[in-house]
Subunit: 138 residues, 4 copies
Amino acid sequence: MRTVQLGDRVRFVETDMMGVVHHSNHFRWFEMGRVEFLRQAGIELLDLMGDGIVFPISDVECKYLIPARFDDEIVIEAQLPELSRVKLVFHYRILRPRTEEVLAVGRTISVFTNREGRIIRLPQTYMERLESFVAVQE
Amino acid sequence: MRTVQLGDRVRFVETDMMGVVHHSNHFRWFEMGRVEFLRQAGIELLDLMGDGIVFPISDVECKYLIPARFDDEIVIEAQLPELSRVKLVFHYRILRPRTEEVLAVGRTISVFTNREGRIIRLPQTYMERLESFVAVQE
Amino acid sequence: MRTVQLGDRVRFVETDMMGVVHHSNHFRWFEMGRVEFLRQAGIELLDLMGDGIVFPISDVECKYLIPARFDDEIVIEAQLPELSRVKLVFHYRILRPRTEEVLAVGRTISVFTNREGRIIRLPQTYMERLESFVAVQE
Amino acid sequence: MRTVQLGDRVRFVETDMMGVVHHSNHFRWFEMGRVEFLRQAGIELLDLMGDGIVFPISDVECKYLIPARFDDEIVIEAQLPELSRVKLVFHYRILRPRTEEVLAVGRTISVFTNREGRIIRLPQTYMERLESFVAVQE
């Protein structure tokens, strides 16, 4: 399956008084992976939004395996195991290459809606880009 | 089951360019509900931490039903349906009283560890407070 | 001068690994004070925005005197010492009533623009509400 | 003067319902520039903290010139025009290379303290690294 990776470094502000990254930040990292996945598939979020299509999250989950720490170099990994014209299911992993560890795994479900929040179907042109991007053997 | 409620108002900074609250913020609200639940049970997080006990999140999930919007008055609701000396499972709801709607429902699992991240058992004194708080008929 | 106060409690996520509140959060508190000030003056941000008026920040400053800590009950205090139809200058203090300390003082300058970012003059109806609110002797 | 640059891309979560980056985030970008500046000077924040030295911010200011937008590639630029063993004054610029614009300029003052918050002097070894890094002609 197509896997997109994005490198980043843990920001100081992402830590909390436990000395590790606050668990809410992982969803912000997942989002960066999702945006990058779509970009590599030829879909810019700003174009989608220009076409009146938004992309709200309906479900999320995350399992935290190892705390991420300040200044860690991390890799955000995104896959798209399920896609249809009404829904995208992304899977994610947060990796720390230095220690070869998986820090967290997660999943989000997004639906397509118009600006008024009514569910719509992703236009065929976008759908084709996604399908062909996902299908390519790596 | 014992239910703890906490009122709050959506901050401007919690919105994103979709015009609604970014989905990562719900976990920050859940946390506020969790802290308040523990406080009402007689457990201050700062006391726990002073005893060398920390409380990392190992699993979270959230289902988003209706977008929260800037300036909405919300109620954060927390329950503790499962507790043991190694793990707490909290359930949450985010309500918008004005429209009598449930905006989101979620769940977190926390484990008890020492400062080095080793899993420990919650001391009996804290456990008793939690159990008697949860048990009280409302 | 008219002073508006708003109570809040420091969130866990607002701390960083130094064990105190990250300095960027004070601007989020100032914003809550600013929104509350305007609300008490009869101006809802959502109404302004509905009239196509936005309110970007052009300058900020903050002096940090004493660290805010997790679970501290704080008071956010806002004043509007300078107002005109093109610019509002707010002053803020963050107080910790328990210790009777001032934790931080700050200032923001906002200008009025339309949605395209062009500077505009605040309509007279809003201006009058602000002026009469500020003028009232407390 | 020595200038350190760091590239980044605006995150979706950094925007607010005005459609542009919330002004509090610039201080988080400044921090990334500060950390990178110190790293290139041979000073890791984690080492400083391991030596019991912390580095709280005492004063900040920022002037916002042009809004940053989602997905913008930005450059965070940091300089250290004033340094002594008790205080560091950093200057920052946020640039958007695509449009060759300066989006914001800012300044922070940090003091050195021990873990109890008492002001201390930066040990000579760190001071020398900073001074020689700053002094090098670019």
